[in-house]
């Protein structure tokens, strides 16, 4: 651990990316959590996921771009990330995790950085490469994902002060918790929709009675 580190807030994500194993310890020690930086990364996550669908070269693009709808991209990036944070927090507070919601949010966002970089490289390269050279694209895509996953494990381990097996178990059950949260959210949404339709029909009924 390096105690002499004195980095500005925006440099921390890059530092942990380059130091996957000790970076988060330093971050924790120096309290490098910064919500603004984390939100910028989450926003970049959203932008990159849209760009990946829209700007990837024709030879490597399998998106159905006939109809463009921003909602699926938003929910598969930002909402998914927020669900991860909430799911992880609600699980790990019960199991002696030391991380607060803010800490989890920051370290998880910082862990996304390699994935974002690899996606940007893929998007640019896909416009210059032929189909036979697609191996590079697959390589960068998997490199980014693996790197991000390693960072995420390291982040979870440090922020909650868990052992490695406990970290992995916690991450697995976080995914389960996310599934439960999404299920409840969809349930709630449909119920509220029905309530809304009911209220709206009463409103229209009343409006007809009074207007004519």
């Amino acid at each position: 651990m390096r105690f002499d580190l004195d980095l500005p807030a925006w440099k921390w994500p890059f530092y942990v990316m380059r130091h996957p194993f000790e970076g988060y310890d330093d971050l924790r020690w120096k309290k490098g959590y910064n919500m603004k930086v984390a939100w910028v990364i989450v926003a970049a996550f959203f932008i990159v996921s849209v760009a990946s669908a829209q700007l990837t070269g024709f030879l490597f693009n399998n998106t159905y771009v006939k109809v463009f709808n921003i909602i699926p991209y938003f929910s598969s990036s930002v909402l998914l990330f927020l669900t991860w944070v909430v799911g992880n927090w609600s699980l790990c507070t019960l199991f002696d995790g030391e991380g607060t919601m803010k800490n989890i949010f920051c370290v998880s966002a910082y862990a996304l950085l390699p994935y974002l970089f690899s996606e940007v490289i893929v998007i640019i390269a896909s416009n210059f490469l032929l189909r036979t050279e697609g191996g590079f694209i697959t390589f960068f895509r998997y490199l980014g994902i693996v790197w991000s996953v390693v960072l995420m494990i390291s982040a979870m381990k440090t922020v909650h002060q868990y052992s490695i097996p406990k970290t992995l178990a916690a991450m697995f059950f976080t995914v389960v918790a996310m599934a439960i949260i999404l299920f409840l959210a969809v349930l709630l949404l449909t119920l509220f929709q029905q309530v809304f339709v009911f209220v709206y029909s009463i409103y229209t009924e009343l409006m007809y009675r009074f207007s004519i």
Binding site: F58, L59, R131
Partner: protein, 527 residues
């Protein structure tokens, strides 16, 4: 009241719109041509084929014949076709052979379908070469014939082969109705004793090997050599890797021998129809609503599907997705295949009554024909009830309907002719000459994706890579890849100096930056 005014206006607009719809719709075919775009969505297209005429029994003069020897119920039935199940055209002379299954007869006519040209074959006779004593079946009449094929030998003598379903034979006879050979149930161990032998379709290759489609055989077509000996099976379908099949493979690892024998065996789906092209390649189709493997196969003489190497076995033949409409699920069930002179492939879909025309490279050209609504019983021209066979002759497509008891003749439209002309030029390698027809196609139907590929190839041939890329964009990945490869090389060659300069400047800047940074840091350290 403003509300009532609005309502009246809305009704009026709707009425005008509806009347406009009726006026345009009445002049059209009962079907709208469509094609599939890059994403596999159906998009409207112009019709490539329209109905020319519909032929029934009275056109052939069947109602004028003498049926006094038959019972009264049969007499009425024999006035027209009854469940015709196959049609064959002998391309050299233009003779049409129609199998009239329920009436147990074969009708020979020509493309005019006039009564004078029509000859009805109901009774054969055993000749001296193949006396009745040698026959197993010993029947001079047909019993529910289902398929017909005609091939001439080198001397030009024609032999007619009929798949005689309920007589359990394929019968070969000459134009004097003299039976020369019967291909009956193979004896021996290879042919399963528990399986029936009801020939449904038959084709003959140039060496006079006979291929018989038997519905109960899943190992492929039953193949006989010219002298009637059983050669084995030909062109079996693959077993589709469904979840059930994979699970069975897993259990086979664990089970004992007895348990494996008792297991439900997963077998391939039987071939439903067969055709042979001018080059001797055999095409088979499989009629199954759930399976997508081996719907259409092109087999070489060894029985190997050559579409696999070309990647065409990945093509979805027929409609892309099954559609749920008015309580019924429609998925393509390809029941017949035909290859025309140009090598185009025609598939007949039993489920929807549609004909799908493909090029020899399995690119979808046109879709035509439709299943009629239940109320009209397919009486409208171009609609069907239960299609059974199709055949092509001189650019026209003949579709047999076994419940309408008629033959519908489709002729090519002007648009279809332009497309066909462009493809012919394209296949001969005359890309530049094909440009004009393809541009004409796009003027008439801007959604016709094959035209974009054709024009892309034309521009690629002229080394105009960026234009070619524009045409290939979202129509052909392979074409785009080829054009882009050349474009990229050309781009780098043309701009090599600039690219080098930019790279050098970036490297120089990076070096300069690192030097400056070091100096600044050193100064900071000195403090």
């Amino acid at each position: 009241m403003p509300f009532m005014k609005k309502l009246a206006a809305a009704f009026l607009t709707a009425a005008i719109a509806a009347s406009a719809l009726v006026v345009t719709a009445s002049a059209d075919e009962p079907y709208t041509g469509y094609n599939y775009d890059w994403w596999g969505d159906p998009i409207p297209s112009q019709n490539g084929f329209v109905v020319d005429k519909v032929i029934d029994g009275s056109d052939l003069g069947l109602d004028k014949l003498d049926y006094s020897s038959y019972s009264s119920t049969l007499q009425a039935q024999m006035q027209s076709l009854a469940e015709p199940s196959d049609i064959f055209v002998y391309q050299k002379t233009g003779e049409f052979y129609i199998v009239d299954s329920k009436n147990n007869r074969l009708i020979v006519t020509d493309s005019t379908f006039s009564p004078e040209k029509t000859r009805v074959i109901t009774e054969l006779h055993y000749g001296s070469e193949f006396p009745e004593s040698q026959s197993v079946v010993k029947n001079v009449n047909f019993k529910t014939p289902r398929g017909v094929y005609v091939r001439a030998n080198n001397d030009g003598i024609k032999f007619i082969f009929v798949a005689d379903y309920d007589n359990n034979r394929v019968v070969m006879f000459n134009e004097d109705d003299e039976i020369l050979m019967e291909y009956t149930r193979p004896s021996g161990d290879v042919y399963d004793a528990n399986v029936t032998y009801n020939p449904n379709k038959v084709i003959v290759d140039s060496a006079f090997n006979v291929y018989v489609i038997v519905p109960s055989i899943t190992q492929g077509a039953v193949q006989f050599s010219a002298d009637g000996t059983f050669n084995g099976y030909y062109g079996a379908n693959r077993v589709e890797a469904t979840a059930e099949v994979i699970a069975q493979q897993f259990w086979k690892l664990i089970y004992t021998r007895e348990q494996i024998i008792a297991m439900r065996r997963s077998v391939a789906i039987e071939i439903s129809n067969i055709d042979i092209d001018n080059d001797g390649f055999i095409y088979t189709v499989t009629e199954n609503k759930s399976a997508n493997t081996d719907v259409l196969k092109k087999l070489n003489p060894a029985g190997t599907n050559i579409f696999v190497n070309l990647g065409y076995d990945e093509v979805t033949f027929g409609d892309f997705a099954s559609r749920y409409y008015k309580g019924k699920n429609y998925a393509s069930a390809i029941t017949d295949v035909d290859i025309d002179e140009q090598g185009n492939i025609y598939l007949l879909d039993f489920a929807t009554g549609r004909v799908f025309q493909y090029t020899d490279e399995c690119d979808l050209l046109f879709i035509f024909g439709t299943k009629g609504p239940q109320q009209t019983q397919g009486t409208q021209k171009g609609t069907f009830m239960s299609v059974s066979a199709l055949e092509t002759y001189k650019g026209k497509v003949y579709v047999v309907d076994s419940r309408k008891n008629s033959i519908t003749v489709f002729k090519q439209t002007e648009f279809g002719g332009i497309v066909q002309n462009a493809i012919s030029l394209f296949n001969e390698g005359l890309y530049d000459e094909a440009k004009g027809p393809w541009e004409e196609v796009l003027r008439r139907d801007a959604n016709y994706w094959l035209a974009y590929i054709g024009l892309g190839n034309a521009y690629l041939n002229q080394n105009d890579y960026s234009t070619a890329m524009n045409y290939f964009y979202r129509t052909s990945r392979a074409g785009y890849n080829r054009a882009f490869k050349s474009y990229r090389i050309e781009f780098i060659r043309a701009n090599f100096n600039w690219i080098l300069i930019v790279i050098l400047v970036i490297v120089a800047l990076l070096i300069a930056w690192s030097i400056v940074k070091k100096k600044v840091l050193n100064k900071g350290g000195n403090k």
